[in-house]
Amino acid sequence: MNVIVLLAVILCILMVIVGGKQGVRSFISLFLNFGVLFVTIFLMTNPKNSPIILTFIACTVISCISLFYINKTNSKTITAFISTMVTIVVLLLFITFVTKKSMIQGFGEESTEEISIFSLYIGVNFVQIGASVIIMSTIGAIMDVAISIATSMHEIFYRNPSISRKKLFTSGLSIGRDILGTDTNTLFFAFFGGYLSLLIWFKDLSYSIGEIVNSKVFSAEMMTIFCAGIGIALIIPIASSVNAYYLVKTREKTE
């Protein structure tokens, strides 16, 4: 029996027991997301495709799956989708600039040994791939914030239909702030867990602080953490204003 298969089976059973039908949908969407990720990687191996554009398309498909498939298409998921896409575009521009400037693309000196058997001149644009990695790592959290804000703001609007746009916007911000702490935490620890071997490596080989900070791997990890945080912060005002605008607009229409 394969570890991965067994773990997947356990996860599936648990999701069905705890989540019922929605659990089944969540599990299927995990599979679909893996498929999208895989197809994206496969398309990225063709140097003619721009990794950034591929990432944008992949993010669109992933948000469609996670928002429209798990939560059904309604005004909540549509506003969540719009805010996710706006954030992704802004982040993509920012992160591409950052990866270019800090040259954290590709592989660091620490990986020399394992990549030595490969031909490195493979024609794909590693700077853009570096940016894709960062943005795809955070897409889950960005969608989470988007859907939470959309749901709560709709709730507030239905309870108090005469609320002003500004009040709606500020309540969106305060909901976002409550999720900010937990979501950044989720990502930080996920990254810490992944970097554990790297951190032990630095300690074992007694790198100096200067060497750690300037090394490609560590910089890349730090950039990922920072960009993830920036992304989660950025979606809060974006999602709040999209929802506030949409909800007030529909009210004006019905009047």
């Binding site: 996670s66 620490e110 001149y121 024609g123 570096g130 990254f191 490609k216 950025l234």
Partner: protein, 374 residues
């Protein structure tokens, strides 16, 4: 103008202090060359001398460039002298990069007979300047948008990173201490600190702490049992990067920490929603609390597992591409590069899903106790 009126004196002072710190630190990293032992040079002239197309043995087309750089040494005994460097880079840039005027790079200086013109080779880019700028954007972004919560998540990141670093120091210095034990203590501290920072000192935080610890430990036990039953069939440790220690313990420890954040997220979300329902209507029945707990759990289950999923799997993208472009078989590439990440994501997902009922019952337990007291 309204914006400025809303700022209190305390906030004003804090903002000024932060802006001051950011400016000082950015100026510092642009002038900190003398604190480095390795020679640093700033590029003042960069010419591309040659460029040629090349095709490797797998028919991948790329361009190779050779760059002649003139740079000025910024520290050490050769400070102020100019140095001639050559840089070979490719347009794909997997392991190399083009340098531009203004870049600061670490160099090694060749010993030479004629000291008039220095030559040497390039080691790496000095990245601290960009990192510090992004770090400040991160800090300001979180503070401006998240206010108090933003501040707390930065504090929690810094404190937890320091604890981890200290714990790893202990581990590296005292080989006899077991990594899992150290990480276990870390996890305890991480949970208490992060949850206290997120939701303060109150019953719902205690409920969340208890369910987080239960959830992570049970998830860890399940994954260990699965690994034991299957004989770790399907896990490929060969490609685990940066190994200086036994890989299995490092993998398990990483799994332990990695799922913690997601489990905490579930626990605190469940605890705060159930407690909020109870506070709104203290006479609410246990059955009603249970069913709305299930409802909330269902909503968050999918999104939180996918956060973990993407955070883990995406890091392997460059390596998978490198493998595929080097004509490695698809199955081998995926199992070598994704099996550990996938196992981690699945184990984390199990933790997340298990924590939903656990946190629900813990919250109910605390509410019942409150009721008995009242």
């Amino acid at each position: 103008m309204q914006f400025f009126k809303n700022i209190t004196v305390k906030q004003g002072i804090l903002t000024t202090l932060l802006v001051f710190c950011s400016v000082i630190s950015i100026v510092f990293v642009h002038h900190n060359e003398q604190f480095y032992d390795r020679p640093i040079a700033e590029v003042i002239k960069a010419d591309v001398a040659e460029s040629e197309p090349m095709t490797d043995m797998y028919d991948n087309d790329d361009y190779l460039f050779t760059q002649h750089l003139t740079a000025v040494i910024k520290n050490g005994q050769y400070k102020g002298q100019s140095i001639q460097l050559t840089n070979d880079y490719s347009s794909s840039g997997a392991f190399d990069q083009e340098y531009h005027v203004g870049n600061e790079i670490f160099v090694s200086i060749n010993n030479q007979a004629t000291p008039s013109v220095l030559t040497g080779s390039i080691l790496d880019l000095k990245r601290d300047q960009t990192i510090i700028i992004i770090a400040w954007i991160f800090i300001f972004g979180l503070l401006i948008i998240g206010k108090r919560q933003g501040l707390f998540s930065i504090v929690s990141l810094v404190v937890n990173a320091l604890i981890l670093s200290f714990a790893l120091d202990l581990y590296v210095e005292h080989g006899s201490l077991s990594l899992l034990l150290i990480i276990g203590v870390c996890v305890l501290l991480f949970t208490i600190i992060s949850l206290l920072l997120i939701s303060g000192l109150n019953t719902k935080t205690y409920a969340a702490i208890i369910s987080t610890l239960l959830g992570t430990v049970i998830a860890l036990i399940i994954s260990s049992v699965v690994m034991w039953i299957t004989g770790e069939n399907g896990l490929r440790y060969e490609e685990m990067q940066f190994l200086t220690r036994p890989y299995r313990t490092i993998f398990m420890a990483g799994l332990f920490i990695g799922s913690l954040g997601a489990v905490m997220d579930v626990s605190i979300t469940m605890a705060s929603s159930i407690f909020a329902l109870y506070e709104q209507d203290p006479t609410i029945s246990v059955k009603a609390l249970k069913s709305s707990g299930v409802e909330i759990g269902r909503d968050i289950m999918g999104t939180i597992t996918s956060i973990l999923f993407f955070a883990y799997l995406c890091g392997s993208i460059p390596m998978v591409i490198l493998y595929l472009k080097n004509s490695s078989p698809l199955g081998l590439t995926l199992s070598l590069n994704l099996s550990l990440e996938l196992a981690r994501a699945l184990a984390g997902g199990i933790g997340v899903v298990l924590t939903i009922p656990i946190s629900q019952y813990t919250a109910l337990f605390f509410i019942n106790r409150k009721r008995v007291k009242a």
